[in-house]
Every structure is written in structure tokens, then in C-alpha cells.
């Protein structure tokens, strides 16, 4: 029996009157991991800010649809209820670990202030709990790290600290926004492994945002592909990445270099659409090799393909399937 931790139904997100994300439907169950992929400006980070309750600082808001986090309506204006939500039920690992830590504050203080704010039971043994958190994210010599300042740690260590901070309130859902983007490849792998291990050990759900299909393939069970503020394809990671049905997903996979691949990489022609000039029909239509009259006229809705796999394309059921099963993607 599964418990739903997050349910976004048809949400749209607006900043300064501009609708940047439209009609997003996503669900995450306990113990489940969801990847969100898309290129710059696709709305993936904005969507996860909405999930983490961080829209208001940038002047954004959920303009329609409903968002349930845990058993709470996250669109309701009840700030008190929301305070119990963020950090405790849902927690965020931010993008840039150097900027996300106060340069004038020791790592230990970051941890203790968070424990004090989130975890009333541990206040008596603050230091022990802080050390325990650092150990759980695999940091050696935690006593020393507690006394250090952010700039004294490497990028990978800082990212581990960010994860330790994120799990301090024993959240049920962890949202990681490009957690590995700023890191070396070897460190990336360790961080992904850590996220996978932690979510498994603590029975947490994970939402992983990335523009890197390899990262999502390595760490998630299902994936949602976003383009121009909309989810265009969604399903089990394995299925979506091996048998993509949406032309955008296909183009994205073809644009990706793999070991042993010798031919030319296929770029996606054209530039991503901009929020103030969304096309009236399918937003990918101007760049889509298969677009026809229908695509310019009407926005496609998500349609079932089978096995939890859905896609938003007028020509979804035509024979545009690209079989990538032979490509060595999932093992990279």
C-alpha cells in the first residue's frame, strides 16, 4: 500500500503576471523517486520551488490548480500550517552549495540552528545529533567539519552538508534541485549514490531535478520531461528513456553524447520558446520535425500510452517510436 506524499493537479505558476508553468500534473508516493528533466527555462526549477514553498520570495505564485503536500493543501494561505510543512515534510537540497551556506557561519551552527528549528526532541543533544547527521551523509571527521566555515570545504563536501541540513527535520520528501551540476563527475556519482541510499534507508521520497538525462537515469524510478513550462512526457524512467514517444524527448536523447558513439550529435534546431511568446498550439511545434497543422492549432493533452507512460503529442500514436534500447544510456 502506497501513501501519496505530493500531488500537483493541473498547477500553473505565475511571476509578474507571466505564466511560466502550465498544467503540471505530478504525483510522488512514499519511497518513490521522480526525476524532472528539461533544458534551461523549461520550468523545472520553478516547479520544484513551488513544491518547496519558495515561490513568494521571487514574487511568484500558484495561479491555478491544487497542490497537496503530505496531508496539507500547500496553496492555502495558512502560514502556520505551512511552517510545519517545509523542512519537516518536504525539504530542499539547493542548487549552489557555496551560495546556500552563510559564509560567516560555521557548519556546526548551520546544523544546530536547523535542528533547533525542526527537531524539538534533539535539542538536548544538539551536537550529537549534528555529528550523527554528518556521519549519515558520509562525511569523515565530523567533529572537525562542525568547526569549519563553508569556504573551507570542497564542493562535494558542501553538497553533503546541504543534504545533511535537508534531512535534519526527518522529511518524508526530499527535493534535490540540480544537486550535482556544479560538481566533478566522480563526485557527482557519489552524491547520487548518497541520495539513493538515504531515500532508501529513511523511506523518503525523492524528486530530482536535472538537465542531465544520465543523472536522472541513474537515480530515479520515474521521470517527467518538461518543455516550455509543460510536462510533455512522463512514465517509468526505464520506459521513457528507452522508448521515448514525444518528439522532444527523442530529440533530447539524440542530442546526448554516449561512449562509443561515433556519428554527429543531433542538436535540436531553433531556440526554446520564451514565456511571453508561447506558441498557441503545441509549444514544441516550431522546433518539431514532425509538426503538422494540428500542432499549431491546439495544445495537446497528456494521453496514456500504457504502463503509466503518458505523453502530450498529437501524433503520439503514430509510428514515430525511436527505439533506443541498444543505446548504452542506463548504464552510464
Amino acid at each position: 500500500m502506497t501513501e501519496m506524499l505530493l500531488r500537483a493537479s493541473n498547477i500553473a505558476i505565475e511571476i509578474a503576471g507571466l505564466e511560466l508553468v502550465s498544467n503540471v500534473d505530478l504525483e510522488v508516493d512514499r519511497g518513490h523517486s521522480l526525476g524532472i528533466v528539461g533544458e534551461t527555462g523549461s520550468g523545472k526549477s520553478l516547479t520544484c520551488r513551488a513544491f518547496a514553498g519558495l515561490l513568494s520570495p521571487i514574487g511568484g505564485r500558484i495561479s491555478s490548480g491544487s497542490l497537496w503536500v503530505g496531508r496539507q493543501d500547500a496553496t492555502s494561505p495558512d502560514t502556520h500550517a505551512k511552517a510545519a510543512l517545509y523542512g519537516r515534510v518536504v525539504s530542499l537540497v539547493p542548487q549552489n552549495s557555496l551560495m546556500a551556506l552563510n559564509p560567516l557561519m560555521r557548519i556546526g551552527t548551520h546544523l544546530t540552528e536547523t535542528i533547533k528549528a525542526l527537531d524539538a526532541d534533539s535539542v538536548v543533544q544538539l551536537k550529537a545529533r549534528a555529528i550523527d547527521l554528518l556521519q549519515r551523509v558520509g562525511l569523515p571527521d565530523p567533529e572537525r567539519i562542525l568547526r569549519q566555515y563553508p569556504h573551507q570545504l570542497s564542493g562535494g563536501m558542501r553538497q553533503r552538508v546541504m543534504i545533511a541540513l535537508a534531512i535534519a527535520g526527518r522529511p518524508e520528501l526530499l527535493i534535490a534541485d540540480e544537486p550535482t551540476t556544479a560538481l566533478d563527475v566522480s563526485v557527482q556519482k557519489d552524491i547520487l549514490e548518497l541520495l539513493r541510499r538515504l531515500t532508501h534507508e529513511e523511506n523518503m521520497a525523492l524528486i530530482l531535478i536535472s538537465h542531465d538525462l544520465g543523472v536522472v537515469a541513474a537515480a530515479t524510478q520515474s521521470v517527467a520531461v518538461m518543455y516550455a513550462g509543460m510536462v510533455v512526457e512522463r512514465g517509468p524512467t526505464d520506459t521513457v528513456l528507452r522508448q521515448p514517444r514525444h518528439p522532444y524527448t527523442q530529440a533530447l536523447l539524440k542530442a546526448r553524447p554516449t561512449i562509443g558513439h561515433t556519428g554527429r550529435l543531433m542538436g535540436i534546431p531553433g531556440a526554446p520558446a520564451s514565456p511571453d511568446t508561447w506558441p498557441s498550439g503545441c509549444r514544441f511545434a516550431p522546433r518539431c520535425p514532425h509538426a503538422d497543422n494540428r500542432c499549431d492549432a491546439k495544445v495537446p493533452t497528456l494521453e496514456t500510452i500504457g504502463g503509466g507512460h503518458v505523453g502530450a503529442c498529437h501524433r503520439l500514436h503514430e509510428s514515430l517510436v525511436l527505439d533506443l534500447s541498444k543505446k548504452d544510456l542506463l548504464s552510464s
Partner: protein, 315 residues
């Protein structure tokens, strides 16, 4: 290591300041057309006084020799002798005044911090545009107000009209001076306070825009703690540099404000020296204030090293 290097750099600056005063005045004196002693003292001065000054300035010797002589005396801590108060040592004349001016400046800095830091933080936190507008307009007008005009206005309203403070004078010892010092210090605060408020406001807004504030909020740290522990320390950092940078302007203001309130500091000494064209005393005051300011800057350098962990690392 960094501390040693910073201290050495400031010590070097003190040496250069000493060289600059000595060489600069000696050269400048010779560049003035005609008889420099006569130019300094004016047409009405008696021949004996002019002759005394000629000797004091070393005009009867080659310029290089005179510079060497002045430097030699300076190294021994001898600032020369006043010719306004015949025979009196310049150092003993300006010593007490230096203490008074330093006290006034210290109280002014403290008052400015007390007013400016909470004020600036408040301006950064209230999002209402009226408060922002009033804050910006208020600081603009205050920054445009010269210290001596602020002193006149405070003298008139606070002292003469309301009788809340003496119209001037000095007790001579602390803490009795407090009664006399606060109004002149407030006059100086009209400049430094708004400047600090503006800096804190801008730095606080910069800090609020940083991802670490958002990250702290996302993990449930209470707003009050975010302001006190994340925004405030980062907003205070530039204030140290600002106060150090404005030390010279503050002393300039202090010497003028002192003359308005008849505070017996360097300003009053300067006024006396001006009336008798007492160049050695003025030179001494310039040197002593410059060295004090460099020392104060050393203090702010060290304070910066102490509070910002990043500086220790990057050097």
C-alpha cells in the same frame, strides 16, 4: 601571518606620512614666491617674529639639509617648537587636544552605529515604499548637511531653546565629559549615522537576496533568527570598512564642530594656531591626526580579519 603583513603595511604608511609632511612642507615653503616667512606671517608681523620663523623653517640652510634636520627631529618624537607660545614644545601643546578630539570622535562613531545599524536594518526589512522613501529622503538631506551647520542647529534648538545640554565647554575628565560631549557628537552623527544606515540597508538587501537566506528559510529557520544571524552579520561587514574609510572626514568635521561648542580639542588648538600663523603647531596637528587615522585604519583592518573567515583563507 596576514595580521603581521597588515600591520607592516600600515606601519610603512605611517613612515610615508611622516616623510610626506616633512618633505612636503619644506618644499612648498620654498616654492612660495618672495619671502616665505613674510608670506606666512603677513605684512604686519614684526621683523623679530619673521626672523624666528625663518630660522624655524630652516630658510637659512639648503633645503636638503633642512629636510634631513626635520626628519631627524621627527624620528626622536620631536615635533618642533611653537612660535606662538614661545619655546613651548608642539607635542606638549597638542597632546591634550588629541585626547579630547579622539574622545569626541569615538562617541560620535558609537552614536552613529547605535542609530545607523538598526535604522538601516529597519529600512531594509520594511517593504513599504513610504518608509523607504522617507528613509532615502531623510538620509539624503542629512548627508547634504555639513557638520558645522548641524552643530549650529543643535546648539540653537537643543541647547539654547530647550536647555537640554550646555552650550559648550568641557569637564576635562570622563565620565563627567558625557554632559558636554553628546551634543557635538550628535552633530557629527548627522553625517556618519545616515551613511552607516545606507550601507547597512544596501548590504542587508544584498544578503536577503542571497541563496543562503532562502535556504535557511526553506529548512524552517525562524524569520527572527534569519535576520539576526544571517542577514545582520553580513550587513555589518561593510560597516567596518566604511567607518575606517570615513575616519579622516570625521576628524575634519570634529575640529570644526569643536570650535562651535568651544570644546578644547585639536580644533580649538588649530583655531589658535591659525590666528598666529603658528606653522609648527599646525604641522604637528596634521601629522598627529594622520598617524592616528592610520592607526585607526589598522584597527579596522584587524577587525575585518577577525570577523570575516574568508579573508584569512584567501591571503
Amino acid at each position: 601571518m596576514l595580521v603581521v603583513r597588515t600591520t607592516f603595511a600600515r606601519a610603512l604608511q605611517i613612515v610615508i606620512v611622516g616623510l610626506f609632511v616633512t618633505v612636503g612642507t619644506n618644499l612648498l615653503v620654498r616654492l612660495v614666491p618672495g619671502d616665505p616667512a613674510r608670506a606666512i606671517l603677513g605684512e604686519k608681523a614684526s621683523p623679530e617674529v619673521v626672523r624666528a620663523l625663518r630660522h624655524e623653517l630652516g630658510l637659512d640652510q639648503p633645503v636638503i639639509q633642512q629636510i634631513a634636520r626635520s626628519l631627524g627631529r621627527l624620528v626622536q618624537g620631536d615635533l618642533g617648537t611653537s612660535f606662538g607660545y614661545r619655546g613651548q614644545e608642539v607635542a606638549s601643546l597638542i597632546g591634550p587636544g588629541l585626547g579630547v578630539t579622539a574622545g569626541l570622535a569615538a562617541v560620535a562613531i558609537a552614536l552613529s552605529l547605535v542609530v545607523g545599524v538598526p535604522g538601516g536594518l529597519w529600512l531594509a526589512l520594511v517593504r513599504r515604499t513610504e518608509a523607504d522613501l522617507i528613509g532615502r529622503l531623510g538620509t539624503t538631506v542629512l548627508l547634504a548637511l555639513p557638520s558645522f551647520m548641524a552643530a549650529l542647529i543643535l546648539l540653537y534648538f537643543v541647547s539654547l531653546k530647550l536647555g537640554l545640554a550646555p552650550a559648550g565647554g568641557w569637564a576635562g575628565s570622563w565620565p563627567e565629559n558625557a554632559r558636554y560631549v553628546w551634543l557635538p557628537a550628535l552633530a557629527l552623527t548627522t553625517y556618519l549615522g545616515p551613511l552607516i544606515a545606507r550601507t547597512v540597508r544596501q548590504a542587508a538587501l544584498d544578503a536577503i537576496g542571497q541563496p543562503f537566506v532562502e535556504a535557511a528559510r526553506a529548512r524552517g529557520v525562524p524569520r527572527r533568527r534569519i535576520v539576526a544571524c544571517h542577514v545582520l552579520p553580513n550587513a555589518l561587514l561593510p560597516v567596518i570598512t566604511l567607518v575606517g574609510f570615513n575616519a579622516g572626514i570625521l576628524v575634519s568635521g570634529a575640529v570644526i564642530v569643536e570650535t562651535v561648542f568651544a570644546v578644547p580639542g585639536l580644533g580649538s588648538r588649530l583655531l589658535q594656531a591659525m590666528s598666529t600663523r603658528d606653522l609648527p603647531v599646525m604641522q604637528g596637528i596634521a601629522l598627529v591626526t594622520a598617524v592616528s587615522i592610520v592607526l585607526f585604519n589598522l584597527l579596522t583592518d584587524l577587525l575585518n580579519i577577525a570577523v570575516d573567515p574568508r579573508i584569512r583563507r584567501t591571503h
